[in-house]
């Protein structure tokens, strides 16, 4: 599932060493991924309506304001739902099983992520905390572990 056309200037090794798909930050999302690389979780917060937002947007999806600010957040949340993938959705994901989850952050938004824990430990409602995974020297993924 690696991509043949890349819109940035990173070396080709960026994809091939890791072997799984990695984010290609856009101008809008770059602060999120740069913070993740520093092992900080930051979200956009709308200065007009006060709501936190995930994933990064060009405008607030609630009130449509463009006054969005980056704010550090707690990194705490709960498992809203999850599944244990026991097959490879693409050949790149061959380490099975893995836990795909929707985590509801303390600040409100939900995120698609992985729970880094034995699958049998994962439950809906379980408190989790952010666990940064340095996929490559350039890219850190935002995963979660039991709190």
């Amino acid at each position: 599932m690696s991509e043949s056309r890349r819109s940035d200037d990173r070396p080709a090794a960026f994809i091939s060493e890791y072997g799984k798909p990695l984010p290609h930050p856009s101008p809008i999302s770059r602060p999120f991924w740069e913070a993740a690389r520093r092992h900080e979780l930051t979200l956009q917060r709308c200065a007009a309506c006060g709501k936190f937002i995930y994933y990064p947007r060009p405008r607030c999806p609630h009130c449509f304001s463009d006054r969005l600010e980056w704010k550090p957040v707690s990194g705490r949340g709960t498992v809203y739902s999850y599944t244990v993938a026991r097959y490879s959705p693409t050949p790149a994901f061959k380490e099975l099983p893995f836990v795909l989850a929707i985590v509801e952050l303390e600040e409100g938004p939900r995120m698609t992520t992985n729970i880094v824990a034995p699958p049998e430990q994962v439950r809906i409602g379980m408190p989790v905390t952010v666990a940064f995974e340095d996929a490559t020297p350039e890219c850190t993924l935002v995963k979660f572990k039991p709190a």
Partner: protein, 385 residues
Amino acid sequence: MSLKRKAAAIGIGEVRPFREPGDETALSLMAKVSAEAIADAGLEKKDIDGVLNAVPFADPAGFYPASFCEMIGVEPRMLDIVDIGGAIGTGMFWRAAAAIDAGMCRAVLCVGGDLNRSSGMPFPWISLEREFEWPYGYIAPTLGYAMIAQRHMHEYGTTSEQLAKIAVDQRTNALQNPLARFNDRPLTIDEVMNSRVLADPLHIFDIVSPQCGASAFVVVSPEIARRSKHPPVWLLGAGEASDHSVISYAPSVTTSCVKPAAEAAFKMAGVTPADMDMVEPYDCFTITVLVTLEDAGFCKKGQGGPFVMEHDLTYAGDLPCNTHGGQLSFGQAGFAGGMSHVTEGIRQLMGRGEGRQVKNASLAYVNGNGGVMSEQCSIILERQS
């Protein structure tokens, strides 16, 4: 403004879904079912003045309708693609009716066909999914529906056995459908529950099998419909809604926008769920059927599990559901998959349901669902007595 009885379907075309494409392409399959649907409607190719296409996974491209029309030799006065996933079929029906009602055209060919593999051209997924979903392995819809099922079980106590009942009853329907891909033997609840789990809590029989295939139907003006050789199947109501693309960002994981889509369709039609003689809800997974029946108002929210156990969903039952077998037993031909629910609704209301004909059927609820409960389009079809 209403589309009630402003247009009717008078012809269908369909191939039996199959696994190995051989020499077939998405375009060749679409040409085949188009010819069949136009002939079935008693029309000639020159009578077709509107075309709605689904762009196949197997051959994604822009400018699709003009290329398709050029290939089959049609010069339409209205042409477009419908790009709402499994809601394409129901979405095409009302768009055809709207174009006819607006006087833009009189006979619309709605057609989709797909293969279960790529022809080499990668499907153009949006950058948002590649950036925020794929890195975590959320690449397949199966994982999204598994998270819906997991949460539904958590909130309402839904069980794997209840989900299995849907697959089993639909298989009973498929046994009477010569076009169904899986019509050779019945399924049992035990067999479904003992089958391999691909993504907790979904078993392999809770999940569609990708096939090659194609479906088409022809929607025409009332004037043409009244001369039809088959009983015309009228559009009585339609409603459409979307409240997310990726399930993680949906307002609710367990309550879908089938609700507003179905409410709008029933309101336009002036009927209620209790009036329906059959339902053809899009079924990429068993949980999809359960959530759709709840949100369309066939039972209370959260009661879908007990509801499917208490009702006989076979063609001879008290709530015939996916009488062609559903995609679970008929087969899912990519973006054409959701058209099979529409062709089956039309077929049944025309009285051409063969061994699975629902007796005295005059009203059908058909729902199309795209993405992971992302796009919903409900329609009510009617055979006038």
